[in-house]
Symmetry: C2
Subunit: 404 residues, 2 copies
C-alpha cells in the first residue's frame, strides 16, 4: 500500500484542506493518507479551536486514514523543530511521499534553493545577525538576509510562511536520511495569515476562526468554507463543552501564574530569554485581557507568534531543562485515530515501524509524552467549570478514534 504523508493542524479542517488532501493523494498515487497533526496547542502558540480528538474526527471523516499526534515538544515550536518532529514521525510510519502545500507549488524551486544555500550558510548567518542587530524579528531577518544574497530573486520567496515550512521539511528529510519523496502543491486562493474571506469556497483557517469568534452568526458564516463533517463536529463540540478554545479562555491562568511566580522560576521556562520575564511580570499586573497583555509585551524584536509560544510554555510549565532532553526525532507514534483502510495499513506495517506505537496511555513514560499529557490537562481548563473534568479524563481513557 502506497502512503502519502501530510503535516497538518486542521484548525479547523476546511475546503482548502480537502483540496490539498485530494490533490496530494492523486499526485502521489497513494492508497492511504497519513497525517501527523499538532495536538491541543499549535505552532503559532495558540490553543486549537477544538480538542485534538474532535480534529481527528474531522480528518478521518474528510479522507485521512491515519492520524498521529505531533507531540507538544515539536508542535509548539519554530519551523525547523516543527519540521524535524513531523518528518521523523512520518518517516517512522513508513510513508512514501510527503506532500506539503506552499505558495510556490514548484518542488524544483525548493530543491534548487536548498542547493543554492549550500555553501552560503556562513554569509547568510552573518546577514541574519546584522538584521537582528537592527532590532527586527528572526523570521524577518532571515527573509531580508536571504534577499541580500546574490541572485536570490531566482529562488524561493522566503517571505512566504509555507515556503519556509516546506524548505524545512525537505531539509529535515535530507538531514534524517529519510527515503521520503517530497512533493508540493500550490495553495489555493487563500494566504496563510488572511483574516478576511476573499474566495467563494476557500478561506484560510485564520479567517474562519476570526469569523467564528467575532460574528454572532459565526458558525453559519463559515458554512461555505468548510465541509459538512467540520460543520457537524464544531456544532457537537460547542454543545458538549459550551466553548471554542481561544487564548482569552486561559488568560486568568496565565495572569495567576505570572502574579505568583518569582522571576527565577520564570527564567527556567523554555524560550524565556534574559530580561523578558520582568517585562511579562509587570504587564501581568496591568493587563485586562490576553490581547491587552500581548500588546504590552510586544516589541519589534519578538514576533507575536514567538511570544504566544512562550506564553503557552508558561501555561504548560515547560522548562528549558526538560526540552534539553528532546531529540531531533520524535520517540513514539501516538495514534489518535484511523479508518478501516488505515487499520489495514497499520496491520501490515506495524511489525516494522521504527518507533513504538502508542494507542493508549498506560505505562509508557517519556519526557515528550509527559509534556503531551500536561498540555492536554491545561488545555481542558479552557472549558467552563464542571465540563472540564470530562476532557481531562479523555486524555487517559480515549482509545484511538475508529471510523469505518
Amino acid at each position: 500500500m502506497k502512503a502519502v504523508g501530510l503535516i497538518v493542524e486542521y484548525n479547523p479542517f476546511h475546503n482548502g484542506h480537502a483540496y490539498h488532501l485530494q490533490a496530494s493523494k492523486d499526485a502521489a498515487e497513494a492508497d492511504v493518507v497519513i497525517a501527523v497533526m499538532s495536538g491541543n496547542f499549535l505552532q503559532r502558540g495558540e490553543p486549537a479551536l477544538v480538542s485534538k480528538w474532535q480534529r481527528t474526527k474531522m480528518a478521518l471523516l474528510n479522507g485521512v486514514d491515519i492520524v498521529f499526534e505531533l507531540p507538544y515538544a515539536y508542535a509548539t515550536q519554530k519551523a525547523e523543530t516543527f519540521a524535524y518532529g513531523a518528518v521523523s514521525i512520518l518517516d517512522a510510519a513508513g510513508i512514501n511521499c510527503l506532500c506539503f502545500g506552499s505558495e510556490s507549488g514548484d518542488i524544483t524551486s525548493f530543491l534548487q534553493t536548498i542547493d543554492y544555500l549550500e555553501g552560503k550558510q556562513r554569509q547568510l548567518n552573518e546577514n541574519i545577525k546584522q538584521y537582528i542587530d537592527t532590532g527586527v524579528s528572526y523570521p524577518k531577518a532571515v527573509s531580508l538576509a536571504f534577499g541580500h544574497l546574490p541572485d536570490s530573486e531566482k529562488f524561493l520567496d522566503l517571505a512566504k510562511p509555507n515556503n519556509i515550512l516546506g524548505l524545512e521539511y525537505i531539509k529535515a528529510i535530507q538531514h534524517q536520511k529519510s527515503t521520503i519523496i517530497p512533493m508540493t502543491i500550490a495553495r489555493k486562493n487563500a494566504n496563510y495569515h488572511d483574516e478576511d474571506f476573499s474566495s467563494a469556497t476557500i478561506a484560510s483557517a485564520t479567517s474562519i476562526r476570526k469569523a467564528i469568534f467575532t460574528h454572532s452568526n459565526g458558525k453559519s458564516a463559515i458554512d461555505q468554507y468548510v465541509p459538512e463533517p467540520t460543520k457537524q463536529l464544531l456544532k457537537e463540540y460547542l454543545e458538549s463543552y459550551q466553548v471554542f478554545h481561544q487564548w482569552e479562555n486561559y488568560w486568568s491562568y496565565l495572569q495567576f501564574r505570572l502574579l505568583h511566580a518569582r522571576p527565577e522560576e520564570l527564567r527556567e521556562i523554555y524560550e524565556m530569554e534574559e530580561g523578558l520575564e520582568n517585562r511579562l511580570l509587570s504587564a501581568a499586573r496591568e493587563a485586562n485581557s490576553f490581547h491587552d497583555f500581548m500588546q504590552q509585551i510586544k516589541t519589534k524584536r519578538y514576533t507575536w507568534t514567538r511570544l504566544q509560544r512562550l506564553c503557552v510554555h508558561i501555561l504548560t510549565n515547560t522548562k528549558k531543562a526538560e526540552m534539553a532532553f528532546i531529540s531531533e526525532k520524535a520517540s513514539y507514534l501516538r495514534l489518535l485515530g484511523m479508518t478501516t483502510r488505515g487499520r489495514e495499513y497499520l496491520n501490515k506495517t506495524k511489525s516494522h515501524l521504527s518507533l513504538p506505537l502508542i494507542s493508549k496511555l498506560s505505562s509508557f513514560t517519556e519526557n515528550e509524552i509527559d509534556l503531551d499529557i500536561r498540555a492536554s490537562r491545561i488545555y481542558s481548563l479552557g472549558i467552563p467549570s464542571r465540563l472540564k473534568n470530562k476532557l481531562i479524563r479523555q486524555e487517559y481513557e480515549q482509545p484511538p478514534i475508529y471510523i469505518r
Copy 2:
C-alpha cells in the same frame, strides 16, 4: 496615652467583636485601641470575605484606633507562630495590655496552666507523639495528651480553640520578654466554630459567613448580628467587586497549578509533607470544586484547617526556603489605617517604635513583605475579570485609611 492591643481577623466585624472591644478598653482603662489584623488570608487557610482595606474600615468605624497588618508569614499559620507574630507587632507598637477573648475568661487559669506545664513539657510531648501515632491530628493530640497529665482537669480546657490561642499569646509575651500585661474576657454566647445562629445579637463570624454564602437574602439575614458600618461596608464591597471572597473563587487557580506543577515543585511548598503532594495531584484531576477536592484529600491525620493553609501556600507559591528566613518576630509594622486619636498616638510614639513603620509600599524589601504583596495579588484574582486589576493596584497605591 494608655493603649490596649487586640489580635483580630474581623471576618467580618460583628457585635461580638464590638462587645469585646469595648470590654477590653474598659478593663485596660485604655485611651487607644490598637489592633493587629490578618491580611487577606486568614489563620484557617481561607481568603477573607472582603479585602484587608475594607476590614480596616470596619475596625476603625467600630472603635479601633490603629490597624496594623499581621503579615502573611504569621497570619496563615498554626496558633504558636500566629501568636508570636501578633505579639511582636503589638509589643513594637508599645501597647500596655493585650486583651484576648477566650472560652475561659479567667486570666489566672491561663497563668496557672503555663506554670503547671513548665517542667511537664517532656511528658506532654511524649503523650502528643503517642496520640499522633494513633493517626489523630496535631491539635487533637495536644488536647488528648494534656488531658492525660495528672490533675490537668484543674486547669484550662485545651479543647477550646480560643483558650489555646490565649495560651500561645501569653507564652509569646513571656518568650519575647515583653512588658505587655495579658488580660482576657470571656466570649459571649457564641462558640468559635458555631455554624448556626443561637443568640439574638451575637453570632460567630463562621455562622455569619455561612448565612452570607448560603441564603440568597444572606446580607439581610445577618443584619441583627453586625453593627451598621459592617452592613454598609459589605454592601459597598459587593457593589464594587460583585463578590465576597471564598475558596471556590480560587478553585480554578489551585486546580490549574496542580495540573501543571511537577511533584518536585510541590515538595518545595511550605507545609507540604512527604507524599501529600501526590495525593493533591491526583485529587486535582478528579475534583469538581474546592469542597470536593478537600473531601478527597482529607485524612484523620491532617485537620481541614491545616490542609486549607497548605492550599493557600500553593496559591501564593510560599516555599519552605523563604519561610526558613522568617524569624519569631515580625520585621515591620505595616499601617493599614488609623483614626485621629490613632494618629495622635503614633505621632507621640513613632520616634521610639522598635520596628520600621511602613505606611506605603515603596522601596522597602523583605521576604515577609514580598509574601504580603504576592498574597494580595493572588487574593485579587477572586474577583471577576476587569475588576480584579483595581484591587491588584490598590496594594501599591492605597495609603493608610484615615478616619476622622
